[in-house]
C-alpha cells in the first residue's frame, strides 16, 4: 500500500536507491500530538479508525474495565488504554487514558528488522507504512518494535498496524482519529508545530499543578511522529506501560548494520541461524507485559 502521493525515505531490505513519489516540496515531517491531559476516553478515534480502514466491528466481552478489549489487533489499530490508580502523593485518584497506536518512529525498529524488500516503507514525512503485498509474515517487525505494535493477521499471514492514515495524509487530510476527536486532544501538523504546541501545553501544566508534565518524544528511536503530552512525563509506564526509554533491540541493530555487511560477503548464515532463533523466541514477552 505504498502511497504514490508521498515521498519515500526508506524501504525495508531494499538494495540500491529509493524511488521517490511526490516532489520534495510537498514533504515535511508530520506529527500527531496526543494530549493525554485532555483525552476523555470517548473512543471516537477507535470507531473512526475502523470505519476509515474498512474493518468490521467485532464481538467483545466485558472485562472489568472501560477499555474496549485487552489489546490491539491486526484489524484494530487504535485502542484507548485505561488505567485507574491512586496518585503517588495520596491526593486521590487518577484515571489515565492513553490512545495507543503506532508511534511512527524516526528510527523505526520494524523497518530495520524487516527482511522483506518493500514490506515496510518510511516516507519523508515520517510515516512508517506496511505494505502487505510484500510481507512474508516472519514477524521480525514485532520483535523490532519497542512499542509492541505490529499484529499478525493469522489468515493472511501478513502483519498490520496503524498507517497514520497515509492515504488521507497523502491527499492533504488529517488522520481519521484526529478528525473524530471531539475535545481536540488530538492535533495533527508538522512535527515542528506539534512539538511547539506540546511544549507550550506542558509548560502550562507545569505551572498548574503538574510539575512533572512533559512531552513524550523518545530519543531512543530518534523521536516519534506520534507524540504525547503526559501529566507525568517522568513515569510514562503508568500510562498502561508506555516504555520509558524505548530503543530498537540490540540484536536488530547489530543485524541490520555491521552484520548485514558481513552477510553480504557470505559469512552470515551461521549467525543468522542463531539470531533467528533468538528473534523467534524473543528477548521478553512484551505482549504479556503490556496487559494492564
Amino acid at each position: 500500500m505504498a502511497n504514490d502521493n508521498l515521498q519515500i525515505k526508506a524501504i525495508s531490505a531494499h538494495p540500491g536507491a529509493v524511488a521517490s513519489g511526490a516532489s520534495p516540496e510537498s514533504s515535511y515531517e508530520v506529527c500527531k500530538l496526543i494530549d493525554t491531559t485532555t483525552c476523555i476516553g470517548c473512543k471516537a478515534c477507535e470507531v473512526a479508525c475502523l470505519e476509515w480502514n474498512g474493518y468490521e466491528f467485532r464481538e467483545t466481552t466485558f472485562d472489568n474495565t472501560y477499555q474496549t478489549m485487552p489489546d490491539t489487533e491486526w484489524n484494530y489499530w487504535n485502542l484507548i488504554r485505561f488505567s485507574e490508580r491512586e496518585k503517588d502523593d495520596g491526593t486521590g485518584l487518577e484515571w489515565l487514558m492513553r490512545k495507543d497506536q503506532c508511534m511512527h518512529c524516526a528510527d523505526p525498529g520494524c523497518l530495520a528488522a524487516c527482511p522483506a524488500d518493500g514490506a515496510i516503507v518510511q516516507y519523508e514525512n515520517g510515516i512508517v507504512d506496511f505494505n502487505q503485498e510484500h510481507c512474508i509474515g516472519c514477524q521480525y517487525c514485532v520483535t523490532g518494535c519497542p512499542f509492541n505494535i505490529p499484529r499478525l493477521n493469522p489468515s493472511t499471514k501478513t502483519v498490520f498496524k496503524c498507517s497514520l492514515c497515509s492515504d488521507r495524509v497523502g491527499a492533504g487530510l488529517e488522520p481519521a482519529c484526529v478528525k473524530s476527536c471531539p475535545t481536540g486532544c488530538l492535533h495533527f501538523g508538522s512535527k515542528e508545530d506539534m512539538k511547539f504546541e506540546a511544549e507550550k501545553r506542558s509548560k502550562q501544566l507545569q505551572a498548574n499543578g503538574f510539575p512533572d508534565a512533559g512531552v513524550y518524544d523518545p530519543a531512543g528511536v530518534g523521536g516519534t511522529h506520534v507524540i504525547y503530552v503526559l501529566h507525568d512525563a517522568k513515569n510514562p509506564e503508568k500510562y498502561s506501560g508506555l516504555p520509558k526509554n524505548p530503543t530498537i533491540p540490540i540484536m536488530v541493530t547489530l543485524w541490520k548494520h555491521p552484520l548485514k555487511w558481513l552477510g553480504n560477503i557470505g559469512m552470515i548464515f551461521g549467525i543468522a541461524g542463531v539470531l533467528t532463533h533468538y528473534l523467534r523466541v524473543g528477548p521478553k514477552d512484551v505482549k504479556q507485559e503490556a496487559k494492564r
Binding site: 491531559t37 485532555t38 483525552c39 476523555i40 476516553g41 470517548c42 473512543k43 471516537a44 477507535e46 470507531v47 475502523l50 470505519e51 468490521e56 466491528f57 467485532r58 464481538e59 467483545t60 466481552t61 466485558f62 472485562d63 472489568n64 474495565t65 472501560y66 474496549t68 485507574e84 490508580r85 491512586e86 486521590g92 485518584l93 487518577e94 484515571w95 489515565l96 487514558m97 471531539p182 475535545t183 481536540g184 486532544c185 501545553r201 502550562q204 498548574n208 499543578g209
Partner: protein, 886 residues
C-alpha cells in the same frame, strides 16, 4: 443554558455537578477543555463516582447520590460566611434586600417544613411566602452600599423603547377590562395569582432580620462543612476545598472573574430536583455570575433536540413558549390570561420590565396559529378548543392511569417508555392492560415488545394490540435542532428513509387527517377543535418543514406599523420578532420564543456566518438563538449598576451614554433605552426584575428556599430534621407495584445507594442495535467499590443480582477504585452505579437463549415512582437496593 456551549470557554471556574459532560456531551465538552487550555480555568467535579469528566478535573469530590442540596447549601454558606459575594450585584440585581412577611417561617423553626404546610394533603398553603408592603425601610444612618442608594433617585420617565428587541410592556392588556370570571367550584387556580405587594419593603443595608439576605444567611448557616460531610459522605476538607476554589472568583472583592455551573439530569432526577438547581442559581446570584460571559447556570440537555421539545410544549403543563396550559377554572380567555400574566411587583423606586406582561400577545398569536380564521374575537380566539388540564397529566400519571385501567391506549413517539421507566415492570404490566399501543420507532424496541418480559404461557393472555410504525432516524430528516445553547440550527437530511419508513410527522399528519375525517363523518362530543384546526400546508399529508418553521415564527395577519420607528410590515409577511406580536388577532405565531427565526430575510437557523465581534464566541450570525438571537440571557447583569462591564476584557453589552441606549456584541437583554439610573432589574422575566434568592408564593411547590431532604429511599435519617426526612410534598403512588423501601435508621435489607447514568459509548436504549457501540461496551455491568467487593466476596466479572423493593436487575460486576464507600451519618454506606442502556432488544440480546432472556431486564425495574413536585421528574438517582451474587 442561560449561556451557551461556546461561552464556557470564557470562564475562570467550572463547577460540574449532576452531569458528566465528558461522557454524555463529548462534543460540547471541547469548551470546558478550551477554558482549561486557554484561560487556565479550574474545573471542580462533584459526582457519586469518579467519571471521565472527573479524570480531567482539578478537584474531584465524591458525594452520595441525592445529597446535592447539602453540598451546594454548604457552598452558599461558605460564600456568605467568607464574603465571597458580589455585594453590588446582590443588592441591586437580586431580591436580597426585599423584606419578607412576618408569618414566614424557616424549616429549622418547625420540624423541617416551611410555614403553611398541610401534612394531610401534603401540600403548602404558601400565602406566608410573600414580601411585605412598605417601601424603603433602610435604617436611617445605616450606610448601605453607597453607590446603590444614589441610583434610587428616579430620573424623569424615559421615552418608550424604539426598535428594541423587546416589545414595550403593555401598560394594561387591552382585553383585561372585562370582569374576571370566578373560578369554577372545586377547582383551585394555581397560587401564583395571589399577588405580590405593589410597593415591596426593602432594606438596602441588608440588616433587617426579615430581609431575604438575612433569612438566606440564617437558613444556610446550618450547612456547615461538618454537616455537609455527614450528609454527603464527602470529606469535610475536600468539601471546603471545593467551596473555596469555586468562590475564589470573588476573593478579596474581585468582581472581574467569573464561574459557571454546569449540570444535567444528575440534578433533575431527584424528588428535590428543581430545588437543587435553585441552590445553584442562588450561588450564581450571590457571586454575581448570572448574565456574564463564562458564567450562568447551564443545563446540558441530554438529547440533540430536547431543548426544542421543551420549547415546543414537550411538558404536559406547557403550551409552546412556556405558556401555561389552561385549567378548568379558566372559564374565559380573559380569566386565563389574567391568571397567567404576571404583574410587576417591586419597590416603587425600582423599575421592572416584567416581560411576561406580554403574555396575552403570545397566547392570542398562538391561538391564531393553531386555529387560523376560526380564532376570532367573538369566540375568544378559539380559546375553548384548548384542553383544560383537570389534573397533572405528567409522564408517570399516564402509566399509573393505564395500570389502573383508566388509560386505554398509548401512542409512543421518540421514546421507549418501558425502558425509560421508572418502575419498568409497572409500565410493562400497564401495557398488558391497555387495549392498544402504537409505537413509532426505527428499531423494534422494548416498549413495542413489552410482552417478551413474560413467560410464554402468560404471553398468550395479553390482549393488547400493538402497532409498530417505521419512523425516520435523525439523519433522515431536514429541520432544526435546538441545542442546549438555545440555538435553532437547520440541518439537512443525509439519507432517504429506508424501506417503508416515513418521516414521523407524515405518519402523525396522516393519522390526524383520518381522525378528522371520522369526526367529519360521524361527529362527536366536541368536533370543533379537530375540524377547525389550521392545516394550511401544500401537501396536507406531508407538511414541509419550511412551512412549519415559518408558521412557528409567525406572520402579520394585517398591515402593522411600529409606532416608534415607523417600520411597517404587510399582511402575510413574517414577523421580524416577538415585539411585533399582538393580542387582537392581527398576528399569528406558534411559539413566541422562536419569532425571528424565519423572517422575510429567510431562515435564520440556516445562517453560517462566522463573524465574532468581541471575540467571546458569540457568533451572532451563526444559526439563530432564542430569544431574539440573544446568546447570553440576562446579560444586563454583566454590567455594574452604571452599565459598565464587570470585566472590561469580556464586554458583552454596555450602556452607551452617547446614544443613550444599550449596545454590545450580544443583543442586550433589557429595555434598550432603560437608563442605568432607572434601576430596571436585569431579570426581566420575574415581576420584581430581580434574581430570586427567595421564591415568593407559588413559584416552587416545596419551599421558597431549597432545603436538604433525603431521597425517597435513603440509608440515613435526615440529619437536619429526622421528623421530616423527605420532600414534604413529594408525590408517591399507591398501586401494588409501587413499593418503597423502609429507609433511614429503620432501614433493612435494602442498604446500598444506587445511581444510574449513561455511558459515552451508548445512546439510551437504541445503540445496542448498532455494532460499533455494542463492540465498545458489549453488556450490562454494575460498578461497585473495591471494599464492597472484598466485603461481599465479589470479583470483577462476577454476575450480580441487584434488587430493589420493586424488581431485579442482572449484570456483571465492575470492581473499581472510582467509587468508594462513604461514611454517612457515622455509618458506612456502599454506593453503586449502573448504566441504563440494556434490556431485552438489541444485537446481543436477540441472540440470547430464551431460557435466560428473562434476566435481560430494563434497569428501571429498580427505580421508584417518586416525583419531584415542581418538574414531575422521577427519582432515577439515589434509591436503595441490595446486591447479591447471581
Amino acid at each position: 443554558m442561560t449561556n451557551g456551549w461556546i461561552d464556557i470557554k470564557n470562564t475562570d471556574m467550572m463547577l460540574i455537578m449532576g452531569g458528566n459532560p465528558a461522557e454524555n456531551h463529548p462534543c460540547g465538552f471541547k469548551w470546558p477543555i478550551e477554558a482549561k487550555r486557554v484561560r487556565n480555568a479550574k474545573m471542580i467535579v462533584v459526582d457519586p463516582r469518579f467519571t471521565r469528566t472527573a479524570s480531567v478535573a482539578d478537584h474531584f469530590v465524591q458525594i452520595r447520590a441525592g445529597s446535592d442540596i447539602a453540598f451546594l447549601g454548604g457552598i452558599v454558606n461558605y460564600a456568605l460566611q467568607n464574603n465571597r459575594i458580589n455585594k453590588e450585584y446582590v443588592v441591586n440585581y437580586t431580591n436580597a434586600a426585599l423584606i419578607v412577611q412576618e408569618g414566614f417561617k424557616l424549616p429549622d423553626n418547625i420540624d423541617g417544613v416551611f410555614s403553611g404546610y398541610d401534612p394531610v394533603a401534603m401540600t403548602y398553603k404558601n400565602a406566608s411566602w410573600n414580601y411585605e408592603e412598605g417601601g424603603d425601610l433602610t435604617p436611617k444612618g445605616a450606610v448601605p452600599i453607597a453607590a446603590v442608594a444614589s441610583t434610587l433617585v428616579k430620573p424623569p420617565a424615559a421615552k418608550p423603547a424604539a426598535g428594541a428587541a423587546h416589545a414595550a410592556p403593555a401598560a394594561k392588556p387591552a382585553k383585561m377590562a372585562k370582569p374576571v370570571a370566578k373560578p369554577a367550584a372545586g377547582a383551585t387556580p394555581p397560587a401564583i395569582i395571589a399577588s405580590l405587594p405593589a410597593n415591596t419593603a426593602y432594606d438596602l443595608s441588608l440588616t433587617h432580620p426579615r430581609c431575604v439576605y438575612q433569612l438566606l444567611k440564617q437558613h444556610f448557616s446550618r450547612y456547615t462543612p461538618e454537616m455537609v460531610a455527614s450528609i454527603t459522605g464527602a470529606k469535610a476538607d475536600a468539601f471546603t476545598k471545593a467551596a473555596d476554589m469555586y468562590t475564589s472568583v470573588r476573593k478579596d472583592g474581585d468582581t472581574k472573574k467569573v464561574g459557571t455551573i454546569i449540570y444535567s439530569v444528575g440534578w433533575t432526577q431527584h424528588t428535590v430536583g428543581a430545588q437543587i438547581i435553585r441552590t445553584a442559581a442562588i450561588i450564581q446570584l450571590l457571586l454575581g455570575n448570572v448574565g456574564r460571559a463564562g458564567g450562568g447556570v447551564n443545563a446540558l440537555r441530554g438529547h440533540s433536540n430536547i431543548q426544542g421539545a421543551t420549547d415546543m410544549a414537550g411538558i404536559w403543563d406547557n403550551l409552546p413558549g412556556y405558556l401555561k396550559v389552561p385549567v378548568p377554572a379558566d372559564t374565559t380567555l380573559d380569566a386565563y390570561l389574567a391568571r397567567i400574566t404576571l404583574k410587576s411587583a417591586k419597590p416603587k423606586e425600582w423599575d421592572s420590565f416584567n416581560y411576561w406582561s406580554n403574555t396575552p400577545k403570545f397566547a392570542v398569536s398562538l391561538l391564531k396559529a393553531l386555529y387560523g380564521d376560526k380564532a376570532t374575537p367573538e369566540n375568544e380566539f378559539a380559546f375553548h378548543y384548548l384542553p383544560k388540564a383537570d389534573r397533572k397529566y405528567s409522564w408517570v400519571e399516564i402509566w399509573d392511569g393505564m395500570y389502573n385501567g383508566k388509560v386505554k391506549g398509548l401512542m409512543a413517539w421518540g421514546m421507549n417508555g418501558v425502558a425509560i421507566g421508572p418502575n419498568s415492570q409497572k409500565n410493562i404490566d400497564a401495557l398488558k392492560k391497555a387495549d392498544w399501543l402504537v409505537v413509532c420507532d426505527i428499531y423494534p424496541e422494548e416498549t413495542s415488545s413489552f410482552w417478551e418480559m413474560s413467560k410464554e404461557d402468560e404471553q398468550k393472555k395479553i390482549m393488547t394490540s400493538v402497532y409498530r410504525l417505521p419512523g425516520a432516524g435523525f439523519a433522515e430528516k431536514d429541520g432544526t435542532f435546538v441545542n442546549s445553547a438555545r440555538w435553532l440550527k437547520w440541518k439537512y437530511a443525509a439519507l432517504p428513509t429506508p424501506g417503508d419508513a416515513k418521516l414521523d410527522h407524515e405518519i402523525l399528519a396522516r393519522i390526524f387527517l383520518k381522525v378528522q375525517e371520522l369526526y367529519k363523518k360521524e361527529g362527536g362530543k366536541f368536533p370543533d377543535p379537530i375540524l377547525n384546526v389550521s392545516w394550511a400546508y401544500n401537501n396536507r399529508n406531508v407538511p414541509s418543514f419550511t412551512e412549519m418553521a415559518k408558521e412557528i415564527n409567525g406572520k402579520a395577519l394585517a398591515d402593522l406599523k411600529d409606532a416608534n420607528t415607523g417600520q411597517e410590515i404587510k399582511t402575510g409577511q413574517q414577523v421580524p420578532g416577538f415585539a411585533w406580536l399582538k393580542d387582537d388577532g392581527s398576528t399569528s405565531c406558534a411559539n413566541w420564543l422562536y419569532a425571528g427565526s424565519w423572517t422575510e430575510a429567510g431562515s435564520q437557523a440556516q445562517r453560517r456566518g462566522l463573524d465574532d465581534p468581541g471575540g467571546l464566541g458569540t457568533y451572532p450570525s451563526y444559526a439563530w438563538s432564542w430569544p431574539a438571537n440573544r446568546r447570553v440571557l440576562y446579560n444586563r447583569a454583566s454590567c455594574n449598576i452604571d452599565g459598565k462591564p464587570w470585566d472590561p476584557d469580556r464586554r458583552q453589552v454596555w450602556w452607551n451614554d452617547g446614544t443613550q441606549r444599550w449596545a454590545g456584541n450580544d443583543v442586550p437583554d433589557i429595555k434598550v433605552d432603560a437608563h442605568p439610573k432607572d434601576h430596571m432589574g436585569p431579570f426581566i422575566m420575574t415581576p420584581e426584575g430581580m434574581g430570586r434568592l427567595f421564591v415568593p408564593l407559588g413559584g416552587m411547590a416545596d419551599g421558597p428556599f431549597p432545603e436538604h431532604y433525603e431521597p425517597m429511599e435513603s440509608p440515613t435519617d435526615n440529619l437536619f430534621h429526622p421528623k421530616q426526612a423527605n420532600n414534604p410534598v413529594v408525590k408517591k403512588y399507591k398501586t401494588d407495584k409501587d413499593k418503597y423501601a423502609v429507609t433511614g435508621s429503620k432501614g433493612g435489607e435494602f442498604d446500598v445507594v444506587c445511581t444510574t447514568y449513561r455511558l459515552t459509548e451508548h445512546y439510551h436504549y437504541w445503540t445496542k442495535n448498532n455494532p460499533a457501540n455494542v463492540q465498545l461496551v458489549p453488556e450490562p455491568f454494575i460498578e461497585i467499590s473495591e471494599d464492597m467487593a472484598n466485603d461481599r466476596g465479589i470479583k470483577g466479572g462476577d454476575k450480580l443480582k441487584v434488587s430493589s423493593a420493586r424488581g431485579e436487575y442482572y449484570g456483571k460486576a465492575m470492581v473499581t477504585k472510582r467509587i468508594k464507600s462513604l461514611m454517612i451519618n457515622n455509618k458506612k454506606v456502599y454506593p453503586i452505579g449502573i448504566p441504563i442502556h440494556w434490556a431485552y432488544k438489541g444485537i446481543r440480546e436477540d441472540k440470547e437463549d430464551k431460557a435466560t432472556s428473562l434476566n435481560l431486564r430494563p434497569l428501571n425495574n429498580l427505580s421508584p415512582v417518586a416525583i419531584d413536585p415542581n418538574a414531575y421528574t422521577p427519582e432515577f438517582k439515589g434509591f436503595l437496593v441490595k446486591v447479591e451474587k447471581a
